[in-house]
Amino acid sequence: MTRTETRKHFKMPIHVVKKLDLSKKSYWTIKVVGILIAFLLSGLLCTIFAPGTFVTYYEKMAYGIINPKNYETFMLFLETAGLLLLIAFALAPAFKMKFWNIGAEGQISIGCLVTAGIMFHMTKTGDNSNQLLVVSLCLLFSVLAGIIWALIPALFKAFFNTNETLFTLMMNYVAITLISIFISIWIKSGSQAFPSIHEGQLEDLFGMKIKYLWNLIFVVVIVALMIVYLKKTKHGYELSVVGASLNTARYVGINTKKVIIRTMILSGAICGLVGFLLVSGHEHSLNPGIANGRGFTGVLVAWLGQFEPASMVLYAVLVAMFQCGSGKAASYVGISRAEFSAIVTGMFFLIIIATEFFINYKVLVKEDSKLKPVVDKINNFFSKVGGAISRFFDKINFFKKLKKKKPKDVQQTSKESEEDK
């Protein structure tokens, strides 16, 4: 009576099942395995281009991050990580609110443009005025510019419900084109090269001559403030409610329009600040590609870190390691520098995102399938690697420490709020 006689039946050898309740330990174990694979593959990639350089690659990579002879290498690495982290923290509140702001690139660029403009004109007039005044002006106006760039799509989203992803993306190209236009206005000679500007350099401030130090100070202060903002304030709470469910937000009487606009102002302000840091504290010059994809990399850092401060720090550092380290290593073995580091960074992202599959799903093989022994072997290998890593976690008591912290945090907040009253 059944229809089996009339049809052939294809048997699937595997099926994919959703995982629920994955523990923090196994989550990080999978992630660490992914990171290790990314490291391994980047070395292999290097040997493909320049045979026999597998070990040298890692050696030079380390030199690209920490060079005992030159402290600036390490400062540059820290600064790369820091700026990425700052962008990620600028985006995190917007993303938490489910406002898909991918306009960081443009908000940074416009901050760069404003800063460079002020510095350029101060240099041109030759007015050897107060450095502090110039820097403060740059800071103020770059933040304002970033706010405006973020506010336009936010207003449209709040009042006309436009698609913020497309809108913020398009704003990027407007900002980058504006830089080109202004360079051709300011540099009359026709060449697009922007001269190095002396006035308003951040490291000259208060006579501190250490490169990137000021940038790092800004990063640490703003990141600390943002962590407090996201975790402890009413604003931070409101925006996570808005992100979790618009209906719930309406139900408890949160003004969602206000929250969207307020959060985007904050997001834009920090991105504008990054623009200021890039020009005043790093490049001292201007070109249309000055943001160099940082705005987009920041999106990835924020996403991979799931908007959790500690994870975002981890990913920012890892990305900076690949960007600085592999670039240096590649140039040493004779591969064009920028492209190789871009490939390696891309590969890193790809693998980390691919681990999400193993975090969310598990693959089951049927008992009678021929694939079974093969998959079992792969499983065994990775469970050994995973076991070693999770033993390591146990050894350093990583998660126990995390757990113990929690109740303390709560007490501290309550004490703080009592003081507030």
Partner: protein
């Protein structure tokens, strides 16, 4: 022979959630089965395994004695198994016939032709044997039927659908668009769709949840017709009276495990409940006589229009009284959601207004309204009270002290408060000091945030309290602990994400939070949907408690039996209109059912 046999079926989600644990039983052919169990007992999961939506972790399924592997609902049709889900899978802009034909492939049509030949072939042979010529009209017609069955043709498909309807007693217009259909018609269409594909075993997931008592009777008649035609029917349900009415046999599941199987005629509701819950349960819902009934909320002629222009609520008027439970009955989607959201200030309405009436609200006296001399004079006449509610006479107190007392809000006077809530947003209603609590239908989508822990969810209502930029987790934490304690919420700790808890525990947290503000008006939409018997009765108790402390309770329910037993008055909604307000002590369930379907026609 057994139509279906389950052998040691186990299905888990993740490591902790066991939907089915080693379940084995058989379904006999040609009978109506009830699959009974509380919510979360794994009824639907088991059936989803059968039709290939889920894949069992271990265990075997036999159909007609043959071991089978079903990987998708399409596979299930191969074995002539069809399932009607709670949420219909129909395309609104298509006609009934188009919906039936949707998704059929060439091999399906081949099968249809073969099936039709199995039926018509002997008939033709019979006619030929009786000496009919090959060109006989009847022979031609039967031949054409076989040919039509194997072809994509709307007209012949519509004919086949009509034939199926006639056979089982359905009423469906094959050319009617789905958006014109009532819920019960849509369900019928789903059944027809399944039968069209040659289903012998039909599974219905909670089919009566969306139906009125009359429609339920109709459905049951159809199911009996199907049984008479040799089909096997499995009904997933948790309603005992329906089990008793329709089924031949009952299979009971408890917490994912097989709890037993009984012949319906040899059992009763009490025994089934005990089997279902695993111990004895008192099924009585208590209803106390309302005390101190006062008019609290006047809803006057309000109408709500949806974005697409359809009228969701049409000129509704009624009074909500304190110390009383007003039940709201109606087929789902009759405007219940819109009504509650309008009252809560979440939805704009037009036409009339909503007036909140709070007798004797305490108000501190202000110098803005009264001069010191007037305050002194009025206090002599006994208008004022102190903070403890005792009479206060300040006529002989020096002016300075009186002024000080006014400043400290120590002179209180009681006043009837009448507030127009029209066009007030939720936050404005709150700021007016009206304690209005609302347990929405969509718990995790509206009332709570699933990705936050219990403490943070408690904070939703109270985080604004206190000045400054920072919030305090101290009081929400206390409240969370109290609620977990008092309502016996099963949770690892108060820092567990609410989304990870079971439906009953989620609802306890939501109701607990809403009650904690000691509301004047308490509204609950389907508060026991998806809850097990114990949690349901706890919620009924909480509603009764609220009523007894003088809250005006508005309770939207779907189970008429519960509404009849719990409410003091029942408001019946039908197509967005108030079809009537009845006393459940005096009318029957059928009367309420009739009002539910009456619709707007009664106003003509």
């Amino acid at each position: 022979m057994d139509a279906i046999r389950f052998e040691n079926i186990t299905k888990t989600f993740g490591k902790k959630v066991v939907a089915s644990n080693n379940v084995s039983f058989s379904i006999e052919k040609g009978k109506i089965y009830s699959l009974l169990g509380e919510n979360g007992s794994g009824k639907t999961s088991l059936m989803n395994v059968l039709v290939g939506i889920y894949k069992q972790d271990s265990g075997k399924i036999y159909v007609n004695g043959e071991e089978v592997e079903i990987n998708s609902p399409k596979d299930a049709y191969k074995y002539r198994i069809g399932m009607i889900h709670q949420h219909f899978k129909l395309v609104n802009v298509f006609t009934a016939t188009e919906n039936v034909l949707l998704g059929l492939t060439r091999s399906d049509y081949k099968q249809f032709a073969k099936d039709q030949e199995d039926i018509n072939g002997p008939l033709i042979q019979n006619l030929l044997d009786q000496g009919a010529s090959k060109n006989d009209k009847e022979v031609k017609r039967l031949r054409k039927e076989i040919k039509d069955a194997g072809r994509f043709n709307i007209k012949s498909a519509a004919r086949r659908i009509t034939a199926i309807c006639d056979k089982y007693g359905f009423q469906i217009d094959p050319y009617q668009k789905v958006y014109d259909m009532s819920v019960s018609q849509k369900q019928t269409l789903e059944i027809v769709k399944s039968l069209y594909r040659g289903t012998d075993i039909l599974i219905l997931d909670e089919p009566t949840a969306v139906l009125t008592p009359q429609e339920t009777k109709q459905l049951f008649n159809v199911l009996r017709n199907m049984r008479a035609n040799g089909k096997t029917v499995i009904i997933i349900t948790h309603k005992l009276n329906e089990v008793m009415e329709i089924s031949d046999k009952v299979v009971v599941l408890r917490k994912g495990e097989y709890a037993g199987e009984v012949e319906t005629k040899n059992t009763n509701e009490k025994e089934l409940t005990n089997l279902m819950v695993g111990r004895k349960v008192d099924l009585q819902i208590k209803r106390s006589t309302p005390k101190n009934v006062e008019n609290r909320l006047f809803i006057n002629n309000i109408s709500v229009t949806n974005i697409d222009g359809t009228v969701a609520l049409d000129n509704a008027s009624f009074v909500l009284r304190s110390g009383e439970i007003l039940g709201v009955a109606g087929i789902s989607g009759s405007g219940q959601k819109e009504l509650l959201e309008a009252i809560a200030g979440l939805r704009r309405y037009h036409g009339g207004d909503i007036i909140f009436h709070n007798p004797k609200k305490e108000k501190p006296v202000t110098l803005f309204h009264h001069s010191i001399a007037k305050i002194k004079r009025m206090s002599k006449e006994g208008f004022f009270h102190d903070k403890n509610g005792n009479k206060l006479d300040v006529s002989n107190t020096p002016n300075k002290i009186v002024e000080e007392m006014v400043k400290n809000e120590e002179i209180i006077f009681y006043d009837d408060e009448i507030i127009d809530l029209k066009d007030k947003k939720p936050i404005e209603i709150r700021n007016l000091g009206i304690k209005l609590s609302f347990v929405p239908e969509d718990r995790l989508g509206m009332g709570l945030v699933g990705s936050m822990d219990i403490v943070d969810n408690m904070m939703l209502r109270s985080y604004r309290k206190g000045k400054g930029l920072f919030f305090s987790r101290e009081k929400p934490q206390q409240l969370a602990e109290e609620i977990v304690d008092e309502l016996e919420v099963v949770t690892p700790n108060i820092h567990t994400k609410v989304g990870k808890l079971s439906g009953g525990n989620i609802q306890k947290i939501l109701v607990g939070r809403e009650i904690s503000s000691s509301p004047k008006v308490f509204m609950a939409a389907y508060p026991v949907r998806g809850l097990d018997i114990n949690s349901s009765y706890l919620i009924y108790d909480l509603l009764n408690q609220q009523k007894e402390r003088g809250t005006a309770v508005l309770f939207v329910g779907e189970d008429l039996d519960v509404l009849m037993a719990l409410s003091d008055r029942i408001l019946v909604l039908s197509q967005g209109k108030v079809a009537g307000i009845v006393d459940p002590r005096q009318v029957s369930k059928e009367d309420v059912g009739l009002l539910m379907t009456k619709g707007g026609h009664n106003n003509d």
